[in-house]
């Protein structure tokens, strides 16, 4: 869909920028191969991948899907056109009309074979396929409907490969009236078919962008900010300076994905692969929604950062205004927490900060020391260090509850329902099942929250006959 492709575009641009900063010799290495293929375009791009040696032409390991052409065409005419192969695209002309049912049922059915074929082709180019990333929005028709169709397709065709989904949730003032329907219908699919979901809310991205603007324009700090270090910036990438309104917000998501995969791509003293994220942060299959936060949002031009600033980075990761959804993890219950650190940070810095922050956080009784950590030596462009925190925390509950409320407001009046119901394969039960699935999820979080203030009683240990 539009959101997915726009975010994706920013992601590929920043990924190239990151690898260019690290890979000085232009050799196609293991790190690059995680996201890019190396091909010789003289043979029309159909030639076998080149596994070693110099970089010839990098092709993103990606599928771009949109049911209207505008966004994808723009990408193909822009500075990233050589990164994508025409065979990686699936487009149509008329769009999904912000209708989940059109995306999921109509286009799903129509393009099923084509999607499977292109997925297989992309998978064949991989030595070892570990994970799929899906980037989409929940509120529209294509990303939401066709996106979740692709998700269940991935489960059928590649059951062993992890499915990570980055979902942009609509805000309350979203201009698409039917976004609650689309989102709730999509949630059911995410509940059932995703391994891990990183929900993102536009409001939070917007707030972060504003915060940065205010900071730059206030002139308070006296030092200049390094342009490339802004979590919202495209500086140094291939894209021209003229930035579109959503670019800054999309860059944040792109940075999230880069930091998430950094320890899998680059070396460090404590590596973390993507399968470890799912293993450590998903204690029960359905509770796979992770709240994310990125710090720092920018780096000042000062070179030497004293430890006090380093500690500030850890504190910020737990503050409300750095979360990518409207949530406050500090006042809710943690099921698990992961800290992915990049750059010049050592295990003692990690330990010190965990000890410092632990007392102010509430962890569930059976996971009191539930921290997963990783240290990657390569920092992001423009920073000396950075932190991505992923939390499995009951603070996602309010987001889901509001979504359900907005859904019920429309559903009770049966507003706009007919647009969905006249699509073949759609029935009223689709709606009732979807909202039931959402309610069940909310109830699971409720039950966990209820344990928060209970006194802790450890289960009795096994007794051994001496």
């Amino acid at each position: 869909g539009q959101c997915g492709n726009q975010v994706g575009c920013r992601f590929w641009d920043l990924a190239l920028r990151e690898h260019a900063a690290v890979n000085k010799k232009g050799i196609y290495d293991e790190a690059l191969s995680s996201f890019f293929r190396n091909v010789d375009t003289r043979s029309g791009g159909d030639g076998a991948d080149i596994y070693k040696g110099k970089i010839r032409s990098l092709k993103a390991r990606a599928l771009l899907i949109d049911m209207e052409e505008g966004v994808v065409n723009e990408i193909l005419q822009g500075p990233l056109r050589d990164v994508f192969d025409s065979k990686q695209l699936i487009t149509d002309v008329s769009g999904s009309g912000n209708n989940w049912a059109v995306g999921h049922k109509v286009y799903g059915c129509q393009y099923r074979e084509s999607i499977v074929e292109k997925l297989r082709k992309a998978a064949e180019h991989c030595d070892c396929l570990q994970c799929f990333f899906i980037i989409h929005s929940m509120g529209g028709g294509t990303g939401s409907g066709l996106g979740t169709f692709v998700l269940s397709l991935l489960e059928d065709e590649f059951p062993e490969v992890y499915r990570f989904v980055t979902s942009v949730y609509p805000s309350g003032e979203d201009d698409v009236i039917t976004s609650p329907y689309n989102s709730v219908l999509a949630m059911k699919e995410l509940n059932e078919h995703a391994d891990c979901v990183l929900p993102i809310e536009n409001e939070s991205l917007f707030d972060i962008v504003n915060k940065i603007h205010q900071m730059i324009n206030s002139g308070k700090l006296g030092s200049t900010v390094k342009p490339k270090s802004l979590v919202t910036s495209s500086a140094g990438g291939a894209k021209a300076v003229q930035e579109k309104p959503f670019d800054a917000m999309n860059n944040i998501i792109a940075n999230l994905l880069l930091n998430l995969t950094s320890s899998a791509r680059f070396e460090g003293s404590l590596n973390m692969d993507l399968n470890e994220i799912s293993m450590n942060l998903v204690p029960f299959p359905r509770l796979h929604y992770l709240v994310s936060s990125l710090t720092p949002l920018y780096t000042l031009a000062d070179v030497n950062i004293p430890p006090r600033r380093l500690d500030q980075m850890f504190s910020d990761a737990f503050s409300r205004d750095h979360q990518l959804i409207q949530a406050d993890p500090k006042h809710s219950l943690y099921l698990a927490c992961a800290l992915l650190v990049r750059g010049n940070v050592q295990v003692s810095d990690l330990r010190r900060n965990i000890e410092r922050l632990k007392p102010s956080l509430h962890f569930i009784s059976w996971n009191q020391e539930g921290w997963k950590t990783s240290l990657c030596s390569v920092p992001p462009v423009g920073h000396s260090h950075s932190l991505l925190a992923l939390a499995n925390n009951t603070c996602v509950k309010p987001t889901f509850m509001e979504l359900r409320d907005r859904f019920m407001k429309l559903y009770k009046k049966k507003a706009h329902l007919h647009h969905y119901l006249h699509i073949e394969g759609m029935e009223q039960s689709c709606f009732s099942e979807a909202v039931a699935s959402l309610s069940d999820l909310i109830e699971e979080y409720n039950e966990l929250d209820a344990t928060k203030d209970e006194p802790r009683t450890d289960p009795p240990r096994l007794k051994i006959a001496v």
Partner: protein, 450 residues
């Protein structure tokens, strides 16, 4: 006799590399403080034990490197080769791409069987390079998926393929406040399985080594490299050549066998702890002098008070009063009862050191006599620039509290069934967990009533 070191997972490979570096540095150092002949003898014994020097210019470490993702192994190989003083055999490694995902079941039930042949081939090759195989030394962490799960599987395979060789597992106990959320599950599964196939488990706790780095080594921003170097130093102080008996003229040729013989009299008791002193930043060494009586006194108190390092020892803890009727009721709190102990002395005047205080029967459980329970190895050759150094390898209640803590946390988590679906996905069922818990509660019980 030679030892084949098996480096498993990121931790095992990182530590293994530091171990070979430390051993090499010690052997080439000029601070042996002993005769040239002694030095040469030490050098030869060490070489035979850890390195092979066929046609290569530099010594080649006797090691097999195993990991389920490629980055760490390629780094380890490269850094060693760059050192110019030793290297690994380029063919003696096995790696995959997808990692084990911190999942013990993935390492044990999926990767293990799938890659058994390839891995065991490498072991066989490395064993054949040895004139006489003294045994296997496997280095692994308990917290992750490869070292722990695949490590447990490989240990089992080694036991089956080499039934008469010694297997010593070096285990890294993770930090209490996690590196990995499911580390307690992984630890419980690893320990219970290793207990069946391994001869002994030599444990290093990350929390303890971290404290040593902070308080004794004065390191401000402690990295894993710092931690690993301290661990390598401590391992070196045990495994570098030493004379195992009075009047021996040759360095012991069977270090693993000797270790097992002195420290593991009963298969129910396999948990070995390690203490070493003195420990300080290298630039302090020139300004420090030590006396053997002082070092021995500290080491003994560290043993009976279960102190993790030479600072902050509780001097109030005393052995139980001799001659009291019932030992168990008169045993003071926090007293660390030993089953067997081994002290290794290196450096100046080791021949004259009085170790009588370690032969005190009140230190030991009643069913072994102190003559059998205590042993000492010595060498006049100083280790790693320390004029005098002493190591203690102890089969005692050292690890009782950490073990109990890990089992308790794992049990707590298991009661809520959290994360169990991640293991059943790969074939480790709830009954397997219960078997592991039972096995470890048995070990805890045995050590408690020592």
């Amino acid at each position: 006799m030679s030892i084949v070191t098996v480096q498993l997972g990121q931790c095992g490979n990182q530590i293994g590399h530091e171990l070979f570096s430390a051993v090499c540095r010690d052997v080439h150092g000029t601070h042996g403080l002993c005769s040239k002949k002694e030095n040469e003898s030490y050098h030869d014994a060490c070489k035979e034990r850890f390195f092979c020097q066929e046609e290569s210019e530099v010594p080649v470490a006797r090691a097999v490197l195993v990991d389920m993702e490629p980055k760490v192994i390629s780094q380890t190989l490269a850094v060693a080769a760059r050192s110019g003083s030793w290297k690994y055999d380029d063919r003696s490694h096995f790696c995959q791409k997808q990692g084990s995902g911190n999942n013990w079941a993935n390492g044990y039930s999926v990767h293990g069987p799938r890659h058994k042949e390839a891995i065991m081939n490498l072991m066989q090759k490395e064993a054949e390079k040895c004139d006489r195989l003294g045994g296997f030394f496997t280095i692994m962490s308990m917290a992750g998926g490869t070292g722990s799960g695949l490590g447990a599987f490989v240990t089992q395979c080694l036991r089956d393929a080499f039934p008469n060789s010694f297997i010593l597992n070096h285990i890294i106990w993770p930090y209490g406040t996690g590196e990995v959320i499911v580390q307690n599950y992984n630890s419980v599964l690893t320990l219970s399985h290793l207990y069946q196939s391994s001869d002994a488990l030599l444990v290093h706790e990350n929390d303890v080594i971290h404290k040593i780095c902070a308080q004794l080594m004065n390191i401000k921003q402690i990295s894993f490299r710092d931690v690993n170097q301290v661990i390598a130093h401590q391992l070196g102080s045990v495994f570098q050549p030493a004379y195992t008996a009075e009047g021996d003229s040759d360095y012991s040729r069977n270090p693993l066998g000797d270790l097992m013989e002195t420290l593991v009299p009963h298969p129910e008791f396999k948990m070995l702890g390690l203490r070493n002193l003195p420990q300080m930043p290298e630039n302090f060494l020139a300004y420090s002098t030590f006396s053997w009586p002082g070092l021995i006194k500290h080491l003994r108190q560290m043993l009976i008070a279960n102190a993790k390092m030479e600072e902050g020892i509780d001097w109030q803890v005393r052995p139980p009063h001799p001659g009291s009727s019932s030992r168990s009721t008169s045993k003071p709190l926090h007293f660390n009862t030993s089953l067997a102990n081994l002290v290794i002395l290196r450096g100046k005047d080791t021949h004259s050191v009085d170790l009588g205080s370690f032969r005190d029967p009140s230190l030991y459980t009643s069913w072994l006599s102190p003559q059998d329970a205590f042993n000492a190895w010595r060498t006049p050759r100083a280790f790693n620039k320390y004029e005098k150094s002493a190591a203690l390898v102890s089969n005692s209640q050292f690890l009782l509290q950490p073990l109990d803590s890990v089992v308790g946390k794992a049990w707590n988590m298991f009661a809520s069934k959290a994360y169990v679906h991640q293991y059943t996905k790969f074939g480790i069922e709830e009954e397997d967990f219960l078997d592991s818990f039972t096995a470890l509660e048995q070990v805890i019980s045995s050590y408690t009533i020592l």
